[in-house]
Symmetry: C2
Subunit: 450 residues, 2 copies
């Protein structure tokens, strides 16, 4: 039932574009939904994409525009006149239109706005592009239906008929007082099943959730998720109703937050995707590589200071990677679960001490298992001295890594640093250094004693 884009299909379209087979292309595009067409243009080069876009009718084109990647939309719009851009966004929801306009170079923005025919739309957009990114104001749309509390259900339905023209999807009717201040909500269901002469003030729901234009996007997402909301009204600093946020925009915010977390955990400093250019990708990665390199250099100094030990017990050198890798793995496992708990708020109200104890318990179990196995292996291939050194060191490293993997993200969170940073290269590097130190220290003590 769902369309799935394949490389074969894409090749067929490219051939049709090259041979300007407009009949075939029109037939194909007619069968597809806007998100699929957007996905196709995202995979094409600029010229081919513009050709496809040019074939779309005026209803589909704006929908497709919204599905394009930022950079691809930028190149496409760069080839359009201000008037043509204005035509594309004239019928968009105000929040989408504002997103598109705010991506344009500043000197063009005003020009595009002046070409928008619907004056209300133009002023809505002009208002929206002023809100700071990452706030409720930047997420909200201006299209909403509101009624005064003193109206009757009948008058209300009449009002909705008038207002609803601009509103594509309507989930609720907001109720405001004489000063346009939000005082509650009237569900469409209630409206339909209430007596035509009932007053709004008798049937509306006063206890509703709302946010201010300055509320952070993350909090908007948290509130909508917490209360399972589909739409959330936005008020200005005087409590006046100025917009609404719908769940689809918030789903995007949530997805972006999850992606950012994964990127931080993987040692990427910047928001990049695999379609970005090489230099940008390279720049996003180098900082953590340099941290890793500094860690490696510190590690080399530590090993260097145990020179004699390697000389007399050469097998010590063999297990350096094992100790480092295990410390890193355990650290990442511990910190991942903490970072996730922090992102979920499931760690709220629990104290750090009990978490640490539990992680140490898990480290104890897994440390004993791993130490026993490596003891057996080393004993078989070498001697019991090496076996004792490697297994005791491994056990200690696993315990330490469990501790650091828990402690570091919790501490970072307390100091308002994104704890996802801790799960990646930072904890790995730290555990590498700590692991090697423990390993050679154990070696010195054991070999010194025996």
């Amino acid at each position: 039932m769902q369309f799935e884009l394949t490389s074969e299909y894409l090749e067929k379209l490219k051939d049709a574009i090259e041979s300007k087979n407009v009949v075939f292309l029109n037939h194909q595009l007619h069968e597809l939904y806007a998100p699929d067409i957007g996905n196709i243009i995202n995979q094409l080069n600029d010229a081919d994409g513009a050709f496809i876009y040019g074939l779309l009718d005026e209803v589909t084109a704006p929908d497709v525009l919204l599905e394009l990647h930022d950079d691809i939309r930028e190149s496409l719009l760069a080839t359009f006149s201000s008037k043509k851009i204005a035509e594309q966004i004239d019928n968009m929801d105000s929040d989408d239109a504002a997103d598109v306009i705010s991506e344009l170079p500043e000197n063009i923005q005003g020009e595009v706005l002046s070409h928008i025919e619907d004056l209300e739309q133009a002023s809505d957009i002009a208002e929206l592009i002023n809100f700071e990114e990452g706030t409720a104001g930047s997420l909200m749309a201006k299209e909403l239906v509101s009624v005064y509390s003193f109206e009757t259900v009948n008058a209300c339905i009449e009002e909705i008929r008038k207002q609803a023209e601009d509103v594509n999807v309507m989930y609720a009717v907001y109720v405001v007082d004489n000063n346009e201040r939000l005082i509650g909500m009237l569900s469409l269901k209630k409206l339909i099943i209430s007596h035509p002469l009932a007053k709004v003030e008798e049937i509306y729901e006063p206890d509703i959730q709302y946010v201010k234009t300055s509320t952070a996007s993350e909090e908007v997402a948290a509130i909508m998720q917490k209360f399972d909301l589909v739409v959330l009204p936005v008020v200005d600093q005087f409590g006046r109703l100025v917009g609404r946020i719908t769940i689809d925009d918030v789903v995007d915010v949530m997805r972006e937050a999850a992606e950012e977390n994964i990127q931080r955990m993987s040692g990427l400093t910047d928001d990049v995707d695999s379609n970005d250019n090489m230099l940008r990708i390279s720049r996003a990665r180098i900082p953590w590589l340099l941290v890793g390199m500094c860690g490696g250099i510190v590690g080399s100094r530590i090993i260097g200071s145990y020179d004699e030990q390697i000389q007399t017990h050469q097998a010590m050198a063999y297990f350096i990677p094992l100790i480092g890798a295990m410390g890193g793995n355990v650290g990442v496992q511990s910190s991942a679960i903490i970072v996730q708990g922090l992102a979920n708020n499931t760690l709220l109200g629990t104290n750090i001490g009990s978490k640490l104890l539990k992680e140490l318990g898990v480290g104890l179990i897994n440390g004993l298992i791993c130490a026993a196995l490596i003891w057996g292996y080393c004993f078989l291939i070498e001697d019991w001295k090496l076996a004792a050194t490697v297994s005791i060191a491994l056990f200690t490293v696993i315990l330490f890594a469990s501790f650091l993997g828990t402690f570091v993200p919790l501490t970072m969170n307390r100091f308002k640093i994104n704890p996802a940073l801790a799960t990646g290269p930072f904890v790995t590097t730290l555990n590498d250094i700590v692991g090697i130190t423990i390993y050679f220290l154990v070696g010195r003590i054991l070999y010194g004693m025996i």
Copy 2:
């Protein structure tokens, strides 16, 4: 504006529970929303949680029950009679009620169902618990409003009045034919603004998205996200309308999928959270630790086979951790971006070759930067031979790790294995082994030549 649970507040509640200060507790609970109360009970021990739950009124209690963690809900319900459980779920949405019932021991499920007073609710639940987890059937609710296509708007509104009693939130009215088969949708907005005597068949929207009960949850989430849907109808194998899925359930599916990805990337094999018991957490972690240990043992054999090299050029041993760590870091960075692209479908239709080339390009840039820096460092503290060995090895390792980090997840994806597995311990371990081999190989060649 939003309530935030603090340890201090939690302590106050615990004190009040201990001293059975019901007046204080009732006052506090009255001020809170169900999700907040659920969050509080999640942090309390079983006895304290049950005490708080016992204070809730019959409207709030079921809402709070749905906010509890699975294990905490399980312990709470275990203390209730079947009749009392039935009372809690009598007024829940059918999908939530089915979720709660399906968590109960099988021998109790039938008993609870027989105590549910609303017979329609009981039969809805009995139907829903039979759907396999992870399908649209297990996500859907039975509460929906549907009308026949031959009805008028007026008859329709009358019908909605009757049906809407059971439906908490109503987004749309579904249109079915004489055989109850889904043929389209009527938005409430359209219903409100249409003429009372208009026929449904003249004003409904026939081109709508729907899924079957057997459709996978991930596909449901993908469709709702793609088309920005708030609600999606579900049909049986004959095309008959049997339920609807709302976006809040799908948001949960999406969040769980994102969390699972992070867990796979961090070397956790099972779905665990930090509230699970130690043995369960330990079991989820040990498999990848053992993989890492095997990798470490392979590494030790490789280093062992270059015994002489370490003896004559001891400084070679110092940089083992640096080489291993850098290989791991680069591998994770490369694979994270690929895994994310695969999860997003932004890599669809692009060929593997061009991705590999780009990653190698990025590896080339970052490899050159890192190699130059480490050359300088080694040259300063040792000699140019070591500097040449370490920097050439590091450069090669970074290139290789870029290649593996891209190639492995793409290949896993092609063979339908979750590519997130590749970003974690697997790629790290592989790069460790490859890195050490390259390092000593370069050492042998260079020291042999010079």
